[in-house]
């Protein structure tokens, strides 16, 4: 394989992988504060893209404003979801909470289908569509936007969790909610914040990917599954491992599609994940299991 083809696959993989990574980051933010895998995470990604289309159509505020509005609206959806469906059922089993999130995801998908139909939509690219030639590969400008914004969001999250009081309080809840409560941290507020943050990063991923891959009311299912797979690949509970897992998953998929078979693209990704699960169940970047009786 020549360098140009290699770069082409790498760029394609990192671009889609960014969205998987942001979805995976969203999964871990909620998992860390609540122990729930939020099956509506894919819907946050879908809302980020589709609501941007909706706002462009309804208000025509210009592309950047439409994207910002879509991300804000999705963040509010995260808040509403936590308030209405998660908070009232605190004292139930994890599997019941998972079913609740599946219910929320079905409801959101149904609402968007009712409001906006089943068609496929695309957003305009952020800065034109003239491909940029680099070392024999041609890369869409949107790919650079996607990678840049993803890295920016990751850096911001890193800063938030390690340097700000609020972020550190959220981390404290994930380590030991009871101790966090004793230290005067409102665990309820942190859970709410985790849903908002997770909706925020998912929506950013969806909004920046849509100019390249198009969107419709039902894209959330597969994006959510890939995000979940990325989490497991990177290590559940390690936010930045999960994001790295997303990038890696995207790259694996792109090379698998290019070199082996594009029809079996999704299968290749899951075969790799199965292999990694069996070889190292805690993921590539997770701490090895230290559970004792």
């Amino acid at each position: 394989m020549d360098l140009g083809t290699f770069l082409q696959f790498l760029a394609a993989g990192l671009t889609v992988g960014s969205t998987y990574g942001l979805a995976a980051l969203g999964f871990t933010i909620i998992f860390n504060t609540t122990g729930i895998i939020n099956f509506a995470q894919g819907e946050f990604v879908m809302l980020g893209g589709l609501l941007a289309v909706v706002f462009m159509h309804w208000l025509d505020p210009g592309l950047p404003a439409a994207v910002v509005l879509a991300v804000l609206a999705t963040t509010i959806v995260g808040l509403v979801m936590e308030r209405l469906t998660i908070r009232p059922v605190q004292h139930t089993s994890v599997i019941n909470l998972i079913i609740v999130t599946i219910g929320v995801s079905i409801t959101i998908r149904g609402l968007m289908m009712l409001l906006w139909g089943k068609d496929t939509y695309v957003l305009p690219a952020f800065s034109g569509t003239t491909p940029i030639p680099i070392l024999g590969a041609t890369i869409a400008p949107q790919s650079f936007w996607i990678l840049g914004i993803t890295l920016l969001v990751l850096a911001a999250m890193r800063y938030f969790f390690s340097r700000t009081i609020f972020g550190r309080a959220m981390l404290a809840c994930s380590f030991e909610p009871k101790a966090a409560r004793l230290m005067g941290i409102s665990v309820e507020r942190m859970v709410m914040a985790s849903f908002m943050l997770s909706a925020f990063v998912g929506a950013v991923g969806g909004a920046i990917l849509t100019p390249l891959t198009m969107t419709s009311y039902d894209v959330g299912v597969l994006l959510g599954l890939k995000g979940f797979a990325a989490c497991i690949l990177g290590g559940l509970g390690n936010p930045f491992g999960a994001a790295a897992g997303g990038l890696l998953l995207g790259v694996l998929e792109a090379f698998g599609a290019g070199l082996i078979s594009s029809a079996y693209k999704d299968a290749i990704a899951f075969v790799v994940i199965l292999a990694i699960l069996l070889w190292r169940p805690s993921g590539l970047f997770g701490a090895p299991d230290t559970e004792r009786v």
Binding site: I37, V89, I106, G110, L225, A267, F270, L277, L278
Partner: protein, 321 residues
């Protein structure tokens, strides 16, 4: 011993009487009967999943794929290669069991979300295979021309005959399952649900029991698969995807985990509901989602838990009176 066997058998007998009476109760409305036949087929898978999830505490998001493997196997064997029905059906259930054995051995070492992810990955791979192996499966447009069932000179060609066949199978599977959970094996499964390490220290071979129950529940899915393929005489990949695996889990949870009766009730309820919501067209999906959310919020033990709560309430009222 005798009386406890009787206590188990009596409800099943009553259940089967209800099954026999159902067509009359519905005054032979074939639309409702076909919904119930489909619900019965799904109930067989749900019972297997209930043994796995509710009793042994092991999640599987790949049961739709196991169901599909069996359906496609009998379809290919009987329609493409012209083998007799019995061979097709046996190879459907048999291959499903073998696949479950091969996949289960490594995968069941995983726990919780990791097991969920692994079974989900398995399910997606199989689903993609159904879509892409077009020369074998017919691809996305489906596999047509699966022969109808017949035994000796009798052909199952009416809605009513399939209704009785399916619900008789449900009853038999229910009997087998009830027997299992009241046996030594059932107690071992519940022990490993509570804590597999404690179970291990009591001398239970945890790995072997997990594998046993996984293969058994896969065989239930296999039985459902062959019934499904020959009942509809058509199969397509979209019936065996991730969404259906999630629906199966939902039916177990909605009915009440570790309650076989609840599982059947949950299945019939969730299979019939979309049919009654069809009048509301696009609202159907939203209502389905809302019902899921509300049930989980206000009936966390599922329908079985709701009923026993109600029974307890009535008893208390009666006791006071």
């Amino acid at each position: 011993m005798k009386s406890s066997t009787l206590r188990q058998l009596a409800p099943v007998a009553a259940f089967y009487v209800l099954v026999l009476a159902t067509p009359t109760l519905l005054s032979y409305d074939y639309y409702y009967l076909s919904i119930l036949t489909m619900a019965g087929i799904i109930a067989i898978i749900v019972m297997g999943l209930n043994l796995l999830l509710g009793f042994a505490g092991q999640i599987s998001l790949g049961h739709a794929a196991l169901f599909g493997i069996s359906a496609y196997t009998t379809a290919v064997m009987t329609a493409t290669y012209g083998f007799p029905l019995a061979v097709g059906m046996l190879s459907g259930v048999g291959l499903t069991a073998v696949v479950a054995l091969v996949v289960g051995m490594p995968v069941l070492k995983l726990k919780g979300y990791y097991l969920a992810m692994a079974t989900l990955g398995f399910g997606l791979i199989v689903y993609i295979f159904f879509n892409e192996a077009i020369s074998l499966t017919g691809g996305p447009s489906g596999f047509v021309g699966i022969p109808q069932l017949h035994v000796g000179g009798f052909t199952f060609d009416s809605e009513l005959s399939y209704f009785f066949l399916v619900w008789t199978t449900v009853t038999v599977v229910l009997l087998i399952s009830l027997n299992l959970i009241h046996s030594r094996i059932g107690r071992a499964l519940m022990a490993l649900h509570a804590s597999d390490k404690a179970a291990q220290s009591m001398g239970i071979n945890v790995a072997r029991y997990k594998l046993f129950i996984f293969v058994l529940s896969a065989m239930f899915a296999g039985i459902a698969g062959v019934l499904y393929a020959h009942y509809l005489s058509f199969v397509a990949p979209s019936s065996f995807g991730f969404h259906f695996s999630v629906q199966l889990i939902t039916m177990v949870v909605l009915g009440g985990m570790a309650s076989l009766w609840g599982g059947i009730a949950g299945t019939v309820f969730l299979t019939a509901m979309p049919e009654f919501l069809r009048a509301y067209e696009n609202m159907e999906v939203i209502i389905y989602g809302l019902i899921l959310i509300l049930c989980m919020m206000y009936l966390p033990q599922g329908m079985a838990g709701g009923v026993s709560k109600l029974v307890a309430l009535v008893r208390r009222r009666l006791g006071r009176a």
